[in-house]
């Protein structure tokens, strides 16, 4: 069971709390976690990644095990603590002041 933490606006879109769980078969990676998330919550398609290209939206970042893994390859395995559910995969809206 993979734990995923969502930013506020995606929680309201999906009608869920801060943290949701998804199941991934095979390698636990950015891509497989996001595929599973969008399968369970189809209303989130296009909000984290662009439709069609599946490119990360520019102001969305991914944190895992205390590291910013935004720019890691999408198919690279995530840290073991994410795969075991000990720590959450975090989807974060980039900070913006003003």
């Amino acid at each position: 069971m993979i734990r995923v933490v969502l930013p506020h606006h995606l929680q309201t879109l999906a009608g869920c709390g801060r943290e949701v769980t998804v199941t991934v078969d095979g390698t636990v990676s950015q891509r497989s976690v996001l595929d599973a998330l969008e399968s369970r919550y189809p209303m989130l398609r296009g909000t984290v990644r662009e439709h069609v290209t599946l490119k990360r939206r520019p102001r969305v970042r991914f944190f895992a095990a205390g590291e910013d893994i935004t720019h890691e390859p999408a198919d690279s395995p995530l840290p073991p603590s994410i795969a075991t559910g000990d720590e959450p995969f975090m989807i974060v809206g980039a900070v913006a002041g003003g």
Partner: protein, 394 residues
């Protein structure tokens, strides 16, 4: 006795203002979609309790929301709260999917437009600026988007497809973004001439289709724009808003970047009707519900100074279809006012006498229940107002 419902889109959510036919006491509901930019909301022409909203974010992209109960509850078409669209066993969540059509069969494989530096730039979807309901089918809507293109749904917003003939027009590669992006912000459906649609794009100009949106041609003859190398070019004009009266749709009124314009031949030619306005720069233009020759604009100083002349918020009314304008000031701030009124932020109701409404970048929504003679704020401290639409409910 009618009920008036105002749909207000702001930088930080949507608000719905409701009043009885006297239009003096208003209830204010919201924010809906708090924290999101609501570029536009509009109600169906046929089923007024069906409302579509364009909910956008620079972080999380485009969301289409739909209500079928007059704005009390909302869901993404085909997704939350509804049976999801299913293809190959997978829910698709397609209501926020606006993908440009580059197929040779339906349009042209046009992939770039002019960028600020004169180079060609890929077409990139940013957001929906305007939603326009069909006049004869409650499930059919049009969406004007940035980068400029026209999309259509025939299933109530569940799926959208591009009417690629517009973007694929031969001039497409010459379109360029204005300061607000390259957006298709105005969609006008002709209620009499079947299949006729007008669109306006910043900064490309005005376009007309006579075949339900399949093919298009620019209609900018008579426009004069100093901001482009050839001021009378076929395209490149920064048209801000276009309005018609349903009883006389061959007459169009335009607020351009500079100049208020009028056409009496369905856009084939235009002439300036700025007349005695203190400034002919502005964004919205609206037509009185019961008099096709009475029009309204809100002048601001210039493209560099987006606020009213002399710090006085004045709506200008012409009862002669342009040229002769009178300032409407009663109830509006006449000192220290430096707000703007954006292109989709003024609308009229169909009550008697006609009501006029507009929202400002300062968060005020003003109403007149007597064709503009007197004004009063409905609400003063909303987030910056992006759009105002009015429904007159029987």
């Amino acid at each position: 006795m009618s009920t008036i419902r105002i749909l207000v889109g702001t930088r930080k959510g949507a608000f719905i203002l409701t009043s009885g036919h006297r239009r003096k006491k208003w209830s204010i509901d919201g924010p809906h979609f708090e924290g999101w930019e609501i570029y536009h909301m509009k109600g169906s022409a046929l089923t007024p309790d069906r409302i579509l909203a364009s909910q956008t974010s620079s972080w999380f992209g485009q969301i289409i929301q739909r209500s079928d109960d007059g704005g009390k509850t909302w869901s993404q078409p085909g997704s939350a709260g509804e049976a999801p669209t299913v293809t190959d066993g997978m829910p698709q969540g397609e209501s926020n999917k606006f993908v440009y059509d580059t197929s040779a069969e339906t349009g042209k494989p046009l992939t770039t437009h002019q960028w600020y530096d004169g180079t060609q730039h890929p077409w990139e979807f940013a957001r929906v600026w305007h939603l326009e309901p069909s006049l004869d089918d409650a499930d059919t809507w049009y969406a004007g988007v940035e980068d400029a293109a026209l999309f259509k749904t025939t299933d109530g917003g569940v799926t959208w497809h591009e009417l690629a003939g517009l973007r694929g027009h031969d001039t497409g590669a010459d379109w360029a973004p204005g300061a607000g992006g390259m957006c298709l912000h105005t969609i006008v459906l002709d209620p009499i001439n079947q299949g006729r649609i007008y669109c306006a794009i910043s900064a490309a100009g005005t376009f007309r289709s006579d075949d339900h949106g399949e093919t298009w041609r620019p209609i900018n003859e008579g426009l004069h724009s100093e901001h482009i190398p050839n001021p009378t070019a076929e395209v490149g004009h920064c048209v801000h808003n276009v309005a018609i009266h349903p009883s006389n749709p061959n007459t169009l009124y335009m607020q351009k970047h500079w100049d208020v314009m009028r056409s009496d031949d369905g856009g084939d030619s235009w002439r300036e009707v700025s007349g005695n306005l203190p400034s002919d720069f502005g964004f919205p233009i609206a037509v009185h519900a019961h008099d096709p020759e009475t029009i309204y604009v809100v002048p601001i100083l210039s493209d560099s100074l987006h606020y009213p002349p002399d710090g006085k918020l004045r709506v200008y009314r012409s009862r002669s279809g342009g040229e002769d304008w009178e300032a409407l000031t009663k109830g509006l701030p006449q000192e220290h006012c430096y707000v703007n009124v954006l292109r989709d932020a003024m609308a009229v109701d169909k009550a008697e006498p006609c009501g006029i409404y507009f929202g400002t970048t300062g968060g005020q929504v003003y109403a007149s229940n007597n064709s503009g003679d007197d004004w009063a704020p409905i609400v003063r401290d909303l987030p910056a107002v992006l759009s105002v639409e009015v429904q007159t409910l029987s």
